[in-house]
C-alpha cells in the first residue's frame, strides 16, 4: 500500500456576509487542483471554523470576507487555532480588503491575502509552493 497524501482544505466564510460566489469559485478551483475541499457555507463564527479545521484535519484554511470585518475575523481564526494547538494549519484570506490592512493581517499570522482579480492559478500555485500535506504519521503538534 503506497501512501498517497492528499491536500485537505477548508474554505469558509466568517461573519455576517452572505456573498458566497467567490468562495464557491475558489472551492471549485481547489477541487480541480486535486485537493479535498471542505465547504461549510456562510455565516460561520471563528469558533466554528477553527473547530471544523481540526475535526477535518485540513492543511489549509481559506477565509473569504467581503463585509469589512476581516481584521477581527481572520485574526480570531488564527488565534483560536493556536489556542487549540493547531498552529501548523496555514490560514489565508481573500475578499474586499484595503491594501493597508494586508500587513496587519500578515502580522496576525495570515500567510497570504488575495485581492479581487487574482487568478485561480495564482492561488493554486501559491498553495503548491507553501502548503504540504501532513507528513506521514506526523503526530499533531501539541
Amino acid at each position: 500500500m503506497s501512501p498517497k497524501r492528499k491536500l485537505r482544505v477548508l474554505v469558509a466564510k466568517p461573519g455576517l456576509d452572505g456573498h458566497d460566489r467567490g468562495v464557491r469559485v475558489i472551492a471549485r478551483g481547489f477541487r480541480d487542483a486535486g485537493y479535498e475541499v471542505v465547504y461549510t457555507g456562510v455565516h460561520q463564527t471563528p469558533e466554528q471554523i477553527a473547530s471544523t479545521a481540526i475535526q477535518e484535519d485540513v492543511d489549509l484554511v481559506g477565509l473569504s470576507c467581503l463585509s469589512g470585518a476581516h481584521l477581527f475575523l481572520f485574526s480570531e481564526v488564527v488565534r483560536l487555532l493556536r489556542e487549540k494547538s493547531a498552529a501548523d494549519i496555514t490560514v489565508i484570506g481573500g475578499g474586499i480588503i484595503p491594501e493597508e490592512d494586508i500587513p496587519k493581517l500578515m502580522d496576525a499570522g495570515i500567510k497570504a491575502v488575495f485581492l479581487p482579480g487574482t487568478s485561480l492559478d495564482e492561488i493554486v500555485q501559491w498553495t503548491e509552493a507553501n502548503v504540504r500535506p501532513v507528513e506521514e504519521s506526523q503526530e499533531p503538534a501539541r
Binding site: 500500500m1 503506497s2 501512501p3 498517497k4 497524501r5 492528499k6 485537505r8 472551492a27 471549485r28 481547489f30 477541487r31 480541480d32 487542483a33 486535486g34 485537493y35 479535498e36 475541499v37 471542505v38 465547504y39 461549510t40 457555507g41 460561520q44 463564527t45 469558533e47 466554528q48 473547530s51 471544523t52 481540526i54 475535526q55 477535518e56 484535519d57 487549540k84 494547538s85 493547531a86 500535506p133 501532513v134 506521514e136 504519521s137 506526523q138 503526530e139 499533531p140
Partner: protein, 317 residues
C-alpha cells in the same frame, strides 16, 4: 505509533483522532498499526447508516438526528461521504453545511470523507474511521453515504440500522426498485414530507414492501414522514431506530450482523494483504513483458495470471 497517541484517542482527543483518520484515508501503515491498537476498544458504538438519492435531504436529516440524540444525552460521530472527481481526484465535501450547528459541540465529531474512487456509496476508509469514532467513545455513529441509486448497499453492511431516505417526488422511481436497497434497508423515511405526494409515496412504498413475503414473522420496515429542515418527525425516527435495535437484540440479528461485518472486514484485510504481497513480490520487468505479450495476444489473461500466481507462490529458494 505511540501508546500516548492511543491513550489520547481513547480519551476522546479530537486532533489526534482526526490526524489518525487522515492516515487511514491515505493508506499510511503506521495509522493502521494505531488502528489495530484501538480495535479491542471498539464495538460499542451503535452505527446507523443514512442513504438515499442525491438531494433527498440526507445531510439535513443527519443534522436533525444528531440534535435529537444529543438532547437524549448521547454523544455522536458523523461520517459524511461525498464523491471524488474522477477527472482531478479532488472533491468538494459539502455535507457539513447542513450540520454546522453541531460543530462546536464537544459531544459531536463530524468528519467529511471523499470516496476516492470507491464504489458502493462509501469510501474505503469508512470502516476504519467508524472504528476511531467508536474508540473515542461515541455512543452513536451516523454514516451518510453519497447520493445513491438502487444497487449501492455497502452501508447496510457497516450499520446495525440502515435508513433509506426518499422524497415525495420519488413516486415513479419506487416501482423501478425491484432489487437492491429496498430489500436491505431497515427504516424508510419520506423526507420533505410537507411537499405534495408524500402520502402516495408512502402508500406505494408500503405496498411494495408488503410484497416481500407472506410470513407475518418477517419484519416490515416502517415508513416514516419527516421534515428534517424543522425537525418534524425526527424524534419518531429516533424511536424507530431504538425499536429496531431492540428487535435485533431479541432476535439475535445484532450478533448476526456483527459476524457479517467481521467476515467482510476479514475478507477486505486479506485482499489488501494479498495486494501488498503482489505489489512487493512481482518482478516488474517480467511483469511488463507479460503485459506486452498479453497486448499482442501471445498469451491469454488467464494463462498470464496463473504464471504470476505461480511466481508468487513458489517457495523461496
Amino acid at each position: 505509533m505511540t501508546a500516548g497517541l492511543v491513550d489520547r484517542i481513547l480519551s476522546g482527543d479530537v486532533r489526534s483522532a482526526a490526524r489518525l483518520m487522515r492516515g487511514i484515508e491515505d493508506g499510511d501503515r503506521e495509522a493502521f498499526d494505531t488502528l489495530e491498537a484501538l480495535y479491542p476498544h471498539t464495538g460499542h458504538a451503535y452505527v446507523v447508516g443514512v442513504t438515499g438519492a442525491p438531494g433527498s435531504g440526507k445531510s439535513t436529516l443527519v443534522g436533525a438526528l444528531t440534535a435529537v440524540l444529543r438532547r437524549g444525552g448521547m454523544t455522536v460521530g458523523v461520517v459524511a461521504i461525498d464523491p471524488t472527481s474522477p477527472l482531478t481526484g479532488g472533491a468538494i465535501l459539502g455535507d457539513r453545511v447542513r450540520m454546522q450547528e453541531h460543530c462546536t459541540d464537544a459531544g459531536v465529531f463530524i468528519r467529511s470523507v471523499a470516496t476516492r474512487g470507491w464504489l458502493g456509496g462509501l469510501a474505503r476508509a469508512a470502516a476504519g474511521i467508524i472504528h476511531v469514532m467508536d474508540a473515542m467513545g461515541k455512543d452513536v455513529v451516523l454514516v451518510e453515504t453519497v447520493g445513491i441509486g438502487q444497487q449501492e448497499v455497502d452501508v447496510t453492511r457497516l450499520s446495525a440500522t440502515s435508513i433509506f431516505v426518499l422524497t415525495p417526488d420519488s413516486g415513479d422511481a419506487i416501482q423501478m426498485m425491484k432489487a437492491g436497497i429496498l430489500e436491505v434497508a431497515d427504516i424508510f423515511v419520506i423526507n420533505k414530507s410537507d411537499q405534495e405526494g408524500a402520502l402516495r409515496v408512502k402508500a406505494d412504498l408500503q405496498s411494495m414492501l408488503n410484497m416481500g413475503g407472506p410470513s407475518s414473522a418477517v419484519r416490515r420496515p416502517p415508513v416514516l414522514l419527516t421534515e428534517a429542515f424543522n425537525g418534524k418527525g425526527v424524534e419518531d425516527l429516533v424511536r424507530e431506530i431504538w425499536k429496531h435495535r431492540q428487535t435485533l437484540v431479541s432476535d439475535g440479528g445484532l450478533r448476526k450482523r456483527a459476524l457479517e461485518r467481521a467476515r467482510l472486514e476479514l475478507a477486505e484485510a486479506v485482499e489488501s494483504s494479498l495486494r501488498d504481497l503482489i505489489d512487493s513480490g512481482l518482478d516488474s520487468a517480467a511483469h511488463e513483458r507479460l503485459v506486452e505479450e498479453l497486448t499482442e495476444r501471445k498469451i491469454s489473461p488467464r494463462a498470464a495470471a496463473s504464471r504470476v500466481v505461480g511466481q508468487l507462490t513458489r517457495p523461496p529458494q
